[in-house]
């Protein structure tokens, strides 16, 4: 079972980046921001980051851990892991189809 990120509207793409970032292990806000910037090549604003974190937490895709100093790490839940895998599989299929069409290998 997994959840669609489509219902998150403008937060769908940032949410996917956050889920991918947390796939490597728990991270706090600043670590997620810098990691997402590395993955995507563009910075994610703090308002967008916390808008997406609140939505992901509410849907049970991530969970907050005990705060370290003032920074609170987040980690992927089992549902979050299933969801991000399903999203990436779907994107993988889309990318393969697109590249195959560009190369003229499929209709």
């Amino acid at each position: 079972m997994n959840q669609s990120l489509g219902e998150l509207g403008r937060f769908a793409e940032p949410s996917l980046y956050i889920l991918v970032s947390l796939s490597a292990g728990p991270k706090h806000g600043y670590a997620i921001m810098t990691d997402v910037e590395e993955i995507s090549g563009s910075p994610m604003g703090p308002g967008t980051l916390y808008g997406a974190l609140a939505r992901l937490e509410r849907r049970g895709l991530i969970e907050a851990l005990a705060p370290e100093d003032r920074r609170r790490p987040y980690r992927l839940t089992a549902l979050g892991a299933t969801t991000v895998r399903a999203q990436l599989d779907s994107l993988d299929g889309f990318i393969r189809t697109g590249l195959a069409r560009l190369d003229g290998k499929a209709s």
Binding site: G45, P46, G47, G51, A54, P67, R70
Partner: protein, 241 residues
Amino acid sequence: MSRLVRFYPRAWRDRYEDEFLALLEARPPTTRDMLDVVWGAVDAHLHPQGDVAPQPWTHRIPGLFALIAGAMWSAVVLAFVFWHESAWTWVILIPLSLLLMFLSLPGDYMAAHGRQIAIAVGVVGLCIVVANLPYSLPTVVAGIAGYLIALGGLLTLAAIRAEIGSSRRWALLVLAVVVPAVVGFPIAVGLGDISDETWLLAVLLPYGFAWVFVGLRLAIRGSATLVDPPLNPTEPEVRAA
């Protein structure tokens, strides 16, 4: 930057403020970051996450009325400032904006502010009586003062509804009503020629801007109208028990 966090709703701040501030302190914020934080605050009001129940769309109506009223008032004043006499066709928007200002006020918050509302209604009634007294300079001055107090009263009630604190309400009142009244007093009593210097009507502009500000805040925060059911239907039963 930490001041911007105050734009977020209380429930959001209780949950995320500490770690959010730690994040903001971890790197120097850019202008884009600041805009992103403001946009995030608007989103947190419109789409509350967590245990906060989403507000019904009817809660946005008072704020939208106030916002439109302020925009209409400002548009008419600007039309007179720039197009002078040819702006008279726009003047119908003034009574319409006043109507919307009145319509933006009724709500369940009134139960907690009965005294202010009674005073405001009394002042409006008094200014209507004074304005209809036989013409003389003292009655004109008293009438204008009455209307200014009434306009200030309307704005104050809307500001109370928008949960603007007492000191900020007074600052808003001074900027939007008191200062323009002092500056515009010579025009109001006929000492200036409005037809030649319509730009002087710009003193009415802060009042429109103040309603836009209050309306925006009210629309974002939301406020229950008189016909809205309570957000928590179990509450009366708890009280009754």
